[in-house]
């Protein structure tokens, strides 16, 4: 099925507004997910007063909402030009970074926040989380430049 797919038949490629608006939805989605994760990360880095575990519990449902929005809009964007994306090194980097970032978020990051750790470990875990998510954003943007 994939082999006979012709992107020019995709409705996304036949409407002036569909593609850019989908991108906006994608950006809004990852703003919600990455933004809520970053709130916890900043706290892990030592900024703010709330306990990290409380912040995590309050923001986690919204992180998930954001992830669902971005994981629906992302593959739709991909469907507009799959052969280009598959061959694009920045896209490949982004997919690996995204997979690592999501796994990290729901394993190491979550466990450290829930169990509590020393300030040093907290800082490391928070900084790594921010770095991972920024590299996902960078990978996405550089698709257009490599």
């Amino acid at each position: 099925m994939f082999l006979v797919y012709d992107p020019t038949t995709n409705p996304l490629n036949n409407n002036d507004w569909a593609f850019p608006l989908l991108e906006c939805i994608h950006i809004a989605g990852f703003t919600l997910s990455i933004g809520t994760i970053a709130i916890v990360d900043f706290r892990l880095l030592g900024l703010g007063t709330q306990k990290p575990v409380q912040l995590l519990k309050e923001t986690a449902p919204w992180t998930l909402v954001g992830l669902v929005i971005m994981l629906i809009s992302g593959p739709l964007i991909f469907s507009s030009d799959p052969y280009m994306y598959l061959g694009n090194y920045s896209f490949r980097f982004k997919m690996v970074a995204l997979l690592v970032a999501i796994l990290y978020n729901y394993t190491v990051h979550r466990k450290v926040v829930l169990a509590g750790a020393s300030p040093g470990v907290n800082k490391l875990v928070g900084a790594l989380s921010l770095a991972l998510w920024v590299s996902v954003v960078a990978g996405g943007l550089f698709i257009a430049f490599v």
Partner: protein, 190 residues
């Protein structure tokens, strides 16, 4: 020489525009800040609407994010100014750019109205039994404003010049639109 030409011919802005890597790196910083700090704007707004972080007082939520939103805003404006001024000739006729700037000025109007009513008055809001209408209105308008700013910002890259409302989508994608915007002014080989 037009104003836009004079702006973008300033030495460091020319170097900035013609660098193959600096331009996308600054764009990445701009976009990463949107992701990181935009989340704080959204969470504050959703708290004012009474749908997120409702276990915590409005005072708590507003104060916790306030300074970080300001830091993020400054970085975003700095990066955005670099992106726009180094491509002033390209941006100045772009209606989406001006729509974005107009909406950004409405953010100042929003602050002027709602800062005394809501953001600097959270203790009074927390005393009320239900969230007052002014808090909900502030949150709803803020979300609408920022989502519109995001959309207009993204549309800047899709405007093709006078007389062409937007490109036929079948001939372009994300890539074409961003590259088209970012490579103007570079060596013709690109």
């Amino acid at each position: 020489m037009s104003i836009a030409e004079s702006i973008q011919s300033i030495g460091f802005l020319t170097a900035f525009r013609e660098s193959a890597m600096v331009y996308p790196i600054v764009m990445t910083t701009h976009l990463s800040c949107i992701a990181v700090f935009g989340g704080m704007i959204l969470m504050t707004d959703l708290r004012l609407l009474g749908v997120a972080m409702t276990d915590r007082t409005v005072t708590d939520v507003v104060n916790q994010f306030r300074w970080w939103k300001r830091v993020g805003f400054c970085i975003m404006v700095t990066m955005g100014s670099l992106l726009a001024s180094s491509e002033a000739v390209k941006y100045s006729p772009n209606p989406y750019f001006w729509a974005k700037m107009s909406l950004l000025s409405l953010v100042a109007v929003h602050a002027a109205i709602f800062r005394p009513l809501v953001y600097n008055n959270t203790a009074a809001i927390d005393k009320e039994r239900t969230l007052p209408a002014r808090a909900r209105l502030a949150g709803a308008l803020s979300i609408m404003l920022w989502l519109s700013i995001l959309t207009m910002g993204r549309m800047i890259g899709y405007w093709d010049g006078p007389g062409s409302p937007s490109k036929p989508a079948a001939q372009n994608s994300h890539t074409a639109a961003v590259v088209q915007l970012a490579t103007v002014g570079r060596a013709p080989s690109r």
